[in-house]
Symmetry: C2
Subunit: 338 residues, 2 copies
């Protein structure tokens, strides 16, 4: 399957030891800065090592010492979405503090690819797993935490698996957003949602409904698109909302992809409806789009720290963290408030 990869003959610790005229173990001790090595010996070993261009083989070391590599495997859907890549970045920074490396894999929201990636990580004996799980991987093909590797699920529920999870307060965030629109006088509120199968979106749409019910506003189902799936789908959805006999005066986009698609459609319209997005949007201010802000950075950091605790042996019950969101209002040109 894999072609022959000629190993570029690297110097081994034995060679370093011989060059320095010491035993293997002494060389090992010196290079790992262990105690009980004479300074002169240590010096000699280090010189021999750098003269030979020695670089220790962590594969071998890990195999011998703990049978686990100092690496965390992470699955995200799509690196091009700054929401996901922001989570990965923050997680990597936390792990880097501990000298840990990150395997990053992209699932494209496909359960099979996710399972395949996780399998590859486990075969490489990662110390832990950070997973933004695909909608259709319940129950997970890799029966994740049962494999004994600490796992934290991010942005998506862990289901009935005994693993930690970190999510946003999707219901609360969406409610707060819709409350804001209602306070601005909007009554015909549309929704553009991503994949219906995504738990996050279900929660966000539930939040919308709850806000409407509590305000005594009847939801007009014809204004709810709950399966727009991608940017192009969101653009189409917005167009069809706009062409309705009675179009919405405000539209809620359930994530940043939906917001982008919606904005594409709105660019052509002279008096567009107000747009409210879930997730920050880089140019939200310049575009006059209010958003339910969340922090992918916090999610990545928090998840990574929780994972490290597990890796370090914490064995408490599963934890479910909900991160708060905040409403960030930017004046929309089409806002009815002026």
């Amino acid at each position: 399957m894999s072609p022959p990869r000629p190993s570029p003959d690297r110097p081994t610790l034995r060679q370093v030891a011989e060059a320095a005229g010491v035993s293997l173990k002494t060389a090992s001790r010196a290079l790992n800065a262990e105690a009980h090595v004479a300074p002169r010996t240590s010096q000699r070993v280090k010189e021999a090592a750098s003269a030979l261009g020695y670089r220790r083989n962590v594969l071998a070391r890990d195999l011998r010492s703990h049978c686990t590599s100092n690496v965390v495997g992470m699955v995200i859907a799509d690196a091009a979405n700054p929401f996901y890549s922001g989570i990965a970045l923050a997680a990597a920074e936390v792990l880097a503090e501990r000298g840990m490396l990150l395997f990053l894999g992209f699932s494209d929201e496909d359960a099979e690819r996710e399972a395949h990636l996780v399998e590859g990580f486990l075969e490489r004996r990662v110390a832990g797993l950070l997973v933004i799980s695909s909608p259709r991987s319940h129950p997970r093909p890799t029966d994740a935490p049962e494999h004994g590797t600490p796992t934290v699920f991010l942005d998506r529920p862990a289901g009935d698996l005994a693993a930690d999870e970190v999510m946003f307060d999707n219901v609360g965030g969406a409610r707060a957003g819709i409350d804001h629109l209602l306070a601005q006088g909007h009554r015909r509120i549309g929704v553009i949602g991503d994949l219906g199968a995504l738990p996050t979106h279900r929660e966000r749409i539930a939040g919308v409904r709850r806000a409407l019910v509590e305000a005594g506003v009847e939801a007009d189902e014809s204004l709810f698109v709950t399966d727009a799936a991608d940017v192009a789908g969101a653009e189409t959805a917005m167009r069809s909302l706009l062409s309705l006999p009675a179009p919405p005066t405000a539209v809620f986009a359930t994530n940043n992809r939906m917001s982008v698609g919606a904005l594409r459609a709105l660019a052509e319209v002279p008096t567009p409806p107000a747009l409210l997005g879930f997730d920050d949007l880089e140019l939200a201010d310049a575009l006059g789009v209010s958003v339910v802000s969340n922090s992918p950075r916090d999610m990545g950091e928090r998840g990574a720290r929780m994972l490290l605790e597990r890796i370090d042996g914490y064995a408490g019950p599963r934890r479910r963290v909900r991160l708060r969101t905040a409403l960030t209002v930017h004046r929309s040109p089409a806002s009815p408030s002026h």
Copy 2:
């Protein structure tokens, strides 16, 4: 340094072999789908394996077989920038076709972090390296390709190292962009550049100058900001350009970060100058910003394929690829052409 990580006692191949009543080697053959194994034996081994929940230890396998892991190490500056993460995504997809995994590390344009990451990759015996190198890592602390691991430099020159490189046609792209502005009648053209130390930006600014010279337009140096460094810096730069007695009628932003900062500043202005960005911008159309388009996807793919060729043993001379850019015109509200 690293805390004790208790290995979650996984079944070993020996245990599988014993359970199936075969020798170690036979079990190995069966699970690796090698030839010369009786179907019945193979079947028995596979059943034993899945009964025990066996997962092969690729660390051990790689140590024995080629002393190189089936993994590529990649360094990018910042995952939150879709330009970089797009490159990483495309590279990962190409590698995934071959069952290879990706170590992804973030340097934040810091040479030391880059060196540290590369060191970690090499210690783990990666099969190859994809590096978007930081401006200040010439000469590289890790004397990259001399270590014998195939390396491809992306978006940044490999310097005098004997490694392949994939870059964009920065000079040509910038020239084409400025030519467009000139054709639209602009004569006072400003520039907002990222870190002056970045080779890409030097090339892009060189392209600007060349276009101006060829058109016989004298460059007004007071309109060139060549060290804006980040989004906030670009916003400040644009503000100061706008407050000039004779502000530019068009501004060229040398990458997507600069474009975003510039747009922030422009949002407040009633009749903003035309903006031209290098790098695609997600809402370029909706914002009416023309861009010099490039394809991070192509860069990642191309780089990964070139790396795979090297990993497979190709030993030709170093290759320097320049990827084409294309001008994508979107009507700017402030364009003088209407």
